[in-house]
């Protein structure tokens, strides 16, 4: 066990994956000599050499498109896109190819690769540096989508993602990179993709979140307990695809109330899907409408006002109270 922040935990996972399997390689702009603009690949270039930690020209479609080719040839590329707001440049490669090759070739050609990208707001960044559009990938059949919320699960999920035989989008909430530390076991551990986790159990209301929004969600849960004597269950989705409907529905059947929390825009976002699935499987248990505390349907504002766009504990608390008093 060693205490570390999420940046270090991801870095650790990358190193472990590369050490364990020589097919694992990294590519992306600035991932090599520089160690990544967030220092996530720091030390890997020195340790594994430029043949396996590849600084590329600045071209997202090429980073993903060549990663697809490498995966087809038998490598296990982990491609970094510098910010989630730039992965639109390569969306066609993911949609048309990474997500389809197995299906298209009836299992003969597969694309075991990971696209990593820092996502989300909260670090006073420039325009296009704070996006959270995991819903686009969730709407793209053939991909898996993972978003960790803590150093330990970041490391375990990344190891799973790299070992996964299919393409995985691994979004890293950049505001968590250095936000807090957690004990991470020395021995590699994995977490199954597609499994949510009940991180706080409760009986009165279910708060569903993931990534950077999990912390304010937990804060709100604490406050509900302290101030209102309300027992909130909190679910950390961890995987967006496959979405763990069972865990969500089981909880809502118990509590009868739910609030979904995420940073991405609301319309057709993850919250919509969660609400639709709860409705499908547990409508009659619902005692109040499911609330969505999400990014609004606007581009995340420039940083002087971005905090008003992001979900925070107060917003979640208010939504929970409204749901409870419905």
């Amino acid at each position: 066990m060693a205490e570390m922040n999420m940046a270090k935990a991801i870095n650790k996972a990358l190193g472990e994956a590369m050490a364990a399997d020589e097919r694992v390689i990294m590519l992306g702009a600035d991932v090599g000599v520089n160690g990544g603009v967030f220092r996530i690949t720091e030390g890997l270039y020195a340790r594994f050499g430029e043949g396996r930690v590849i600084d590329t020209p600045l071209a997202e479609s090429a980073i993903i498109g060549t990663a697809i080719g490498m995966a087809i040839y038998g490598l296990r590329p982990v491609a970094e896109i510098q910010f989630a707001g730039f992965d639109y440049y390569n969306y066609h490669q993911l949609e048309s190819h990474a997500a389809r090759f197995r299906n298209r070739t009836r299992g003969r050609i597969t694309v075991p690769m990971v696209m990593r990208a820092p996502c989300g707001g909260g670090i006073r960044a420039l325009e296009h540096h704070s996006e959270s559009r995991e819903a686009i990938y969730a709407h793209t059949p053939g991909l898996k989508v993972v978003i960790p919320s803590s150093p330990r699960n970041a490391r375990a999920l990344l190891l799973s993602a790299i070992q996964d035989p299919d393409p995985v989008i691994y979004y890293e909430p950049k505001s968590l990179y250095r936000a807090f530390k957690e004990d991470v076991p020395d021995q590699p551990e994995t977490l199954p993709l597609g499994q949510a986790r009940v991180v706080r159990s409760g009986s009165d209301i279910t708060l569903i979140s993931y990534g950077a929004s999990l912390r304010p969600t937990l804060e709100a849960a604490e406050q509900l307990q302290e101030e209102d004597g309300v027992s909130a269950e909190v679910i950390d989705l961890l995987s967006i695809v496959p979405l763990d409907t069972v865990t969500i529905v089981t909880s809502v059947k118990k509590t009868g109330r739910a609030v979904v929390v995420h940073e991405g825009p609301r319309s057709c976002g993850i919250g919509a899907e969660v609400a639709a699935r709860i409705n499908e499987d547990s409508l009659l248990y619902l005692e109040a409408p499911i609330k969505r505390i999400t990014g609004y349907d606007v581009p995340i504002p420039y940083f002087s006002k971005e905090k008003y766009f992001l979900p925070d504990a107060d917003k979640i608390l208010q939504a929970a109270r409204q749901t409870l008093s419905f």
């Binding site: 479609s61 090429a62 080719g69 490498m70 087809i72 040839y73 496959p242």
Partner: protein, 382 residues
């Protein structure tokens, strides 16, 4: 030197060996065995004849829209003949002839155009990607495969194809740039048939040749007569040898003409003249190659006739196999649409599979409606 010309690489060339009158340039004539030459002709002709047959199948509604490849046989077969079976072949959608040569059974390709994913499954042992529809995107896969070969230390090469129109896509630029920066063993072959559907070259690019785009990547570029299979072969062979030695990628432009429509949905009368079509027909690759083979005593008239017969048989057999497969219960089972998304089908997809399964079961119990409607749509599909 305040105002000085920048020295550009001088290795951008034009190559022609077997001209449209079947005159051969002896100095440049590539060394190819009789067997090789026969094989090349075999697949050119097979593609030509199969293509003609497929047009009929399409008109009968037995396969869907497809892009004929007449006029493309020399580039596709010529280039593919210059790589080995452990090398990789990454086509666009007009490399029908080359794919046949690489080992794709004709019936498999018929399945593809007949609307079955099974037709996109490369046969075991064939190091090819399937047809690629979104233009230029495959060039990046080829580059990635080449980069991986280099990382693995394998002395293999990748051969990939694209059209003149496709070279306007950003992915073209990114692929050539990556391949050149990483000196990946990739041979990029442009099938310049002078049209992207209806858009002519002059609307596609402002430069005189596609080959000169090699200057942007500091790599060799060559334009060849795309109806001259010997020139295509020779240029590709040179590029393959360079790539195998670690000397990086090459851009080859084969200048040809799309003899027929863009696809079976297209009407070229809208945008080009019969005179132009006529002119290019006279430059046909098969005619001159046949004459070359005759001149070299490799294939006389009777051999040619028996080859035609053999190929007719081959096609007949393939069509039979295709129709058999296309009627196969397993291949037609719609539930398979859920089975190949992931190595392990996740719960949410299982549920959708069950949903469809139950629906189909219940419907086959009750009165069917769907079949009545299947012929309804009157749309065109380019």
């Amino acid at each position: 030197m305040p105002r000085t010309p920048i020295q550009l690489p001088t290795n951008i060339e034009y190559l022609s060996i077997l001209d449209e009158n079947a005159q051969i340039d002896k100095q440049l004539e590539p060394i190819l065995s009789t067997a090789d030459l026969k094989r090349m002709y075999h697949f050119m002709l097979l593609a030509r004849r199969a293509d003609e047959r497929m047009l009929k199948l399409q008109r009968q509604g037995r396969i869907g829209t497809f892009p004929q490849s007449l006029g493309h046989e020399a580039i596709s077969v010529g280039a593919a003949s210059a790589i080995g079976s452990s090398d990789w072949h990454v086509p666009a959608y007009r490399e029908f002839s080359g794919m046949l040569l690489r080992g794709w059974p004709l019936e498999t390709l018929l399945l593809y155009w007949g609307g079955f994913e099974e037709g996109a499954r490369p046969p075991d042992g064939v190091n090819d990607l399937p047809y690629c529809v979104p233009v230029a995107s495959q060039l990046l896969h080829a580059t990635g495969i080449g980069m991986a070969m280099k990382i693995a230390g394998d002395k293999k090469v990748v051969l990939t194809f694209f059209g003149d129109g496709s070279s306007s896509e950003g992915d073209f630029h990114e692929a050539l740039n990556f391949a050149s920066v990483f000196q990946a063993p990739v041979i990029f072959v442009c099938q310049n048939n002078q049209f992207a559907i209806s858009v002519p070259l002059s609307r596609q690019m402002h430069c005189a040749t596609l080959a000169q785009r090699a200057v942007s990547y500091g790599i060799p570029g060559i334009r060849v007569d795309g109806n001259d299979i010997l020139a295509v072969y020779a240029a590709t062979k040179e590029a393959v040898d360079r790539a195998r030695q670690g000397l990086g990628p090459t851009l080859i432009e084969g200048l040809t003409y799309r003899t027929t429509a863009h696809t079976t949905s297209d009407d070229p009368k809208k945008y080009r003249s019969p005179e132009e079509e006529q002119l290019w027909s006279s430059r046909d690759a098969l005619i001159r190659f046949r004459r070359y083979l005759a001149d070299r005593g490799i294939m006389d008239e009777s051999a040619r006739i028996s080859l035609e017969a053999e190929i007719e048989q081959e096609i007949k057999e393939a069509v039979r196999k295709f129709e058999e497969a296309a009627g196969d219960k397993e291949l037609l089972n719609p539930l398979h649409m859920f089975d190949y998304l992931y190595a392990e089908t996740p719960e949410f997809l299982e549920r959708q599979r069950n949903e469809l399964q139950q629906f189909l079961a219940s419907r086959s119990a009750g009165p069917g409606r769907m079949e009545a409607k299947s012929g309804e749509s009157a749309g065109r599909d380019p």
